[in-house]
């Protein structure tokens, strides 16, 4: 199965980096969707099938915590696993996010392997199926393409 992924971050360059990181992680991707804040993300969620959401917390208009609350309160959306990729690293904020039902938490700055690890685990937990890990050589080749 290929997954439709929504990346939410007010930084366009960060969205690009996250997208690249997901691509080299080898997770099979159907479509990538992008939003600059929570409100834009909700519009995309209203009109598209999304399998997993990777979201920043600190964003204008609607932040990641508010977005998570909207998703968890919506019968049609609450199945979607949300992973926070954020600079907000305080224990209290992480605990709050966990209580609200976040599926994974990655703090910026991040190593690409961390996103990869969390994404695989979250997808496998959510969809009860093994996500095929690409062979070492493919992952290695792709890693070489990335300059960081």
């Amino acid at each position: 199965m290929a997954f439709n992924i929504l990346v939410v971050d007010d930084s366009a360059t960060m969205r690009m980096v996250i997208k690249k990181t997901v691509e080299i992680s080898g997770v099979p991707v159907g479509h990538f969707f992008e939003a600059a804040h929570g409100k834009e993300a909700l519009e995309i969620l209203d009109n598209n099938w999304i399998d997993v959401l990777l979201s920043d917390i600190n964003m204008p208009v609607m932040n990641g915590i508010e977005l998570l609350a909207e998703i968890k309160n919506d019968e049609n959306l609450k199945r979607i696993p949300v992973i926070f990729i954020t600079t907000v690293a305080s224990d209290a904020r992480m605990e709050e996010a966990r209580r609200m039902g976040v599926a994974g938490y990655v703090t910026k700055p991040f190593q690409p392997e961390v996103i990869r690890g969390v994404l695989y685990k979250v997808l496998e937990d959510a969809y009860q199926q093994k996500v095929e890990v690409p062979t070492q050589s493919v992952a290695q080749e792709k890693d070489d393409d990335l300059d960081f």
Binding site: T13, V17, N58, T86, T87, V88, A89, D91
Partner: protein
């Protein structure tokens, strides 16, 4: 500003530059030759990237990033070459830098999460005067291969 705060700031900067940009800024006490006219030429253009935080520790953090350095971190961040980046991406990377540095710093100094980060801002400065910045009390300096990097913390 106590020594522990200083070392946490230095550590947060290093972690961001090393992990995201593969760059190893070296903390320094002063900029060699900063008093001389034209010490920053020909790369006088800088980017000022700032963020404020409110709560138990309120204040603002401002990075002054030499344009050359900003270009370098943007290309490393995106994994593309210099001709493939634009001004918007350079400013955006600078904003994300100050966001990541201060965000991870707050995680260390404020585990209760009471301090809230605002949205970062960045501006291109054509005429940057290091002399003014060097007078600031909450000054952190780094040496890089692309010029000196300044960070100014102002407590509110």
């Amino acid at each position: 500003m106590d020594d522990q705060f200083r070392s946490l700031v230095y550590r947060a900067c290093s972690a961001v530059f090393e992990t995201m940009f593969f760059l190893f800024p070296e903390p320094i006490d002063e900029i060699p030759g900063a008093g001389r006219r034209g010490a920053f030429a020909p790369n006088g253009a800088h980017i000022r990237a700032s963020i404020t935080c409110h709560g138990s520790s309120s204040g603002s953090f401002k990075f002054f990033i030499p344009r050359l350095l900003a270009v370098h971190i943007t290309t490393n961040f995106l994994g593309v070459s210099e001709q493939d980046i634009n001004e918007e991406q350079i400013l955006d990377t600078a904003k994300e830098t100050v966001n990541m540095v201060v965000g991870s710093l707050l995680g260390k100094i404020d585990p209760t999460g009471a301090t809230k980060l605002q949205i970062p801002e960045a501006t291109m400065l054509d005429n940057f005067s290091v002399t003014e910045v060097l007078k600031e009390k909450g000054l952190f300096l780094f040496n890089t291969d692309f010029g000196p990097l300044c960070l100014v913390y102002t407590q509110q």
